[in-house]
Each structure stands twice: as C-alpha cells, then as structure tokens.
C-alpha cells in the first residue's frame, strides 16, 4: 500500500514529534462588521486583546509523535476546527508557535480546489498538484483514485455536472491518496452515502495501519473510539485535557451531561 518512492514513516525518519504546538493562541473578531483601521491591520503579533475580539484558542500546547491517532473533542465553537486549521497551517497563530515537520493531507473543505469548468481528469491533476504531488506520481495513482471514487464514466465531464455525492467522492479519493505522513480529518465524512462512508473509514484505517499520523475532529463518539488512541479536549479555547481517548470521552460526557 505504501508507495515505492516514499514511505513516510520509514525507519530512519526522526523519532521526534511531527507536530509541535507551543502556547499557541489565536484571536478573532467578534463581529465581522466591526470597524477596522489601518493601525489594527499592521500591528502584527501582540498579546493585547482589542475590544471586539476574543481568543478562539489560547495557551494550547501539545506534541504529536509519528503514528499517533488523535481525536479532538469539544462542544461547538470551542476551537476544534480552528485547531485543525492551525495544524494545517492555513491560519497562523497570533501568539506561540505551531510547527509541523511533515507533509499534511488536509481533509478540510476537500472540494475547495476543484474548478467547475474543468473536467474531472484536469481537476484531479490540479488538486493533487496543489498539494505537492508530482505529475509522475499522479499518473501512477490516477487509476486508483478514479476507481476509489467510482467515477470512471465521468472522466471528461466538467466537474460542475457531477452530483454533489460524486464531487465529495472524487475529492476524498484525491486527498486520501496524497500519501502524506499526516492526515487531518474534519467531519467531512458526514457526507456521502453509507456505502461510501464505510469505504472512507476503511481507507483511513488503512492509512493508520500504514503508520500515518491522524488528527481527527468529530462529534461521533463511535468514530473517535474506532480510530483514535489519544484525545484532546477543548473547552472555551483552552486545552482542558490531553489523555487517552476513553478518559477524554468520559470527561466530555460528564461535562456535557451535567
């Protein structure tokens, strides 16, 4: 299953953490309509909180070793997705540091890179390329991707003519074939029919067995227990608990049940 050219967790890879988050904090504006000044914009990093802002995450520190499977737990609006985006490095922390020392396959807004007017084939090459895959690698995996997405008859159809289910399938197929050492999953699997969802889970399991690091945000206790060994519990923007997944889920249940 691992590609012949690259084996992400091969022996000889540094045993140090692949993800290191240190005192990370990020703040957002409370309302989008709030007044902005040029001064705000250029003030860069500062620990000061301006009126109308709140810390979505603060003082979050943890490290992840290669091969760990981590589930992020918390109520809505407690910073789960923000944390995932920090790890994907698509947003930058206002304080502290986030360092990710290996390639990331982000299953976040997976259909984001697809262009309506291009064909499925062109879109596969485009999206895989944007995530850093070389043309040759894509050639090698192209059939696999199409087969996984069950979309063989639509290769030269413009993307916009696909059904929404097909769109998600092809997107998942591409991103999950990136062969990156770190996999980020943000509840995308709630979409698609049951058969395909099961297929996605099987693929994630396969990647995990291949030694990938998983970073998983979900509300589903079952899925969390299925994949993850360690849990991060976020509450009011703080990392409330970092422990084995069962412990984290128990604490979460106790907090929400009370």
């Amino acid at each position: 299953m691992t590609s012949p050219t690259r084996s992400p967790t091969a022996a000889g890879a540094p045993a140090g953490p692949v993800i290191e988050v240190k005192d990370a904090g990020i703040r957002f504006r409370r309302n989008r309509r709030g007044r902005r000044t040029f001064k705000d914009l250029f003030s860069g990093q500062s620990r000061r909180l301006r009126p109308n802002e709140f810390w979505a995450l603060r003082d979050v520190s943890f490290t992840v070793r290669p091969g760990e499977a981590i589930g992020v737990v918390g109520r809505n609006g407690q910073g789960k997705s923000t944390l995932l985006k920090l790890v994907a490095e698509v947003v930058l922390p206002d304080e502290g540091a986030v360092s990710v020392r290996a390639g990331v396959a982000p299953l976040i807004e997976i259909t984001g890179g697809f262009v309506d007017d291009l064909t499925v084939r062109e879109n596969v090459y485009l999206t895989a390329g944007l995530h850093g895959m070389q043309r040759r690698e894509i050639d090698e995996r192209f059939d696999e991707i199409i087969e996984f997405a069950e979309i063989g008859d639509f290769l030269d159809t413009p993307y916009k003519h696909l059904s929404s289910g097909m769109k998600v399938r092809i997107a998942f197929a591409v991103i999950s074939r990136l062969e990156e050492p770190i996999l980020l999953v943000d509840e995308v699997l709630a979409v698609g029919d049951r058969g395909f969802r099961e297929k996605c889970y099987a693929r994630i399991q396969e990647l995990l067995d291949g030694g990938r690091t998983l970073f998983f945000v979900s509300h589903s206790e079952r899925d969390l227990r299925r994949f993850c060994t360690r849990g991060l519990y976020l509450d009011r923007g703080r990392l409330a608990l970092d422990a084995p997944i069962d412990e984290v889920l128990a604490r979460y249940a106790a907090d929400t049940g009370a």
């Binding site: 914009l41 698509v90 982000p106 890179g113 390329g129 070389q134």
Partner: protein, 257 residues
Amino acid sequence: MRATGSRRYRQILWLLTTRDLKVRYSTSALGYLWSILDPLVMAAIYWFVFTQVFQRDVGEEPYIVFLLSALLPWMWFNGAVGDSTRAFLKEAKLVRSTKIPRTIWVNRLVLSKGIEFLFSIPVVAVFAIFGGASVTPGLALLPVAILLQAILTAGVGLIVAPLVVFFRDLERAVKLALRFLFYASPIIYSTHNLPAGLHTWAAFNPLSGVFSLYRSAFFASELDWYLVGVGAAMSVLLFGIGLAVFRRTERAVLKEI
C-alpha cells in the same frame, strides 16, 4: 520526494497559471481572440478619434503601432491589478484549505496576464509590417521592459490584494484609479507631448518608464533613460512595499476569508 522551497513555489505557480488560462480558453469559443480583440477595438477607437476626427499632433507615425505598443502592456497591468482585487475572495475556499505560499495568489495573476500579453505581441508585429514601422535596436530592451513591468505589477498587486479583503470599497476605488491611470500614463500620447513642467513628474508614474522601453522597439526617440531610471526605482520600491504589506497583513487575511 516532495519538491520543496522555490521548486515547489514555481510548480504551484505554474499549475494555477495554466489552470486560469485553461478555464479562460475552454469556456469560450473565441478563446484567444478575445484577449486580443479587446485591445484591438480600443486601439481602433483611439486611432479613429485621433487620426480621423481630430488632427493628431501627439505620438508617432504610424500611430496604430505607437498606440498598440503601450496599449497591450497596459492590458496586462490593468488586467492583473484589476483581478488582484479578487485574488483572495475568489479563491477563498482554496486559500482556506490548502497550504500554499500565499504570494502565489497574486503572482499567478501577474503571470497568466503576462502570458496573454506575450501571445498578443504578434498583433503589433502584424501592424508594424503593414503600417511600415521599422524595428530599432531598442527591440533588445523588450525583456527588460517585461521584467520591469512584472516587478511593478506584482508590487501593486501585493498591496491591493490583502487590503481589499478588509476594505471592500477598495475594489471599486482600484477600478476607478485604473481608469484614471490609463489617461495619466503615456498610452494615447507620449511623455514628449506633456507640458515641460509635467515631464519631470510623469517619471514618477513607473508606467511611463515601462512604456518608454516598449516603444523604443519601434521609435528610437521614445527611449528616455530618465523615465526608465525613475520608473525602475519606483517599481522596485513598490515591490518592496508590496512584500512588506503582504507579510504584515497575511495573518489577518487568513482569518478574514
């Protein structure tokens, strides 16, 4: 192995640029023609107004070649800066989900519009042949002109793109400024035609220098090293400001979109 650093940057830049061109040409029947039709129609209008209606005393002969040699590069600048107002907004989903060096969102516009410009150069050549314009040694400066314009356009784009995310009004302001700049730049006229007092100031519009370089390919007298020098300095300065603005606002931009 994954490509890293500048190699990866170039790969992704190229990927997005070809994507833009593919989308543009696969969705319209006339494709390439549109990108030259627009400047051609404009050139025809100005040619008619200034040579048939008014008795022209600006520019050089043949006027159509004089016009096109600045109008086509203007289309590049105008197109890239105009599109940079939507550089992030249009690609928001992709920016939110993919970790790509962020300056690519601007530079890909400069590159794709630049390629369209290169494809439109044969049009000037055709008019030069039939209009009887002859090439001067200034043609050797064409690569310099292109490089200078790329730096200038990228610089302006890097300033505009992030600021529009916060100040949406800027989108319209930029369109207006571009229209003003069209007449404030030596496109339908030459800097020689300006009153003496304005000539010094015209140099601070870096497009004056850029167009002077382009035009020197056909009109030796259009080459003005003072314009080129000041224009080059201004372009590099704007590029520096652009990079600084972009770096400082990147964090906030990513949160906003």
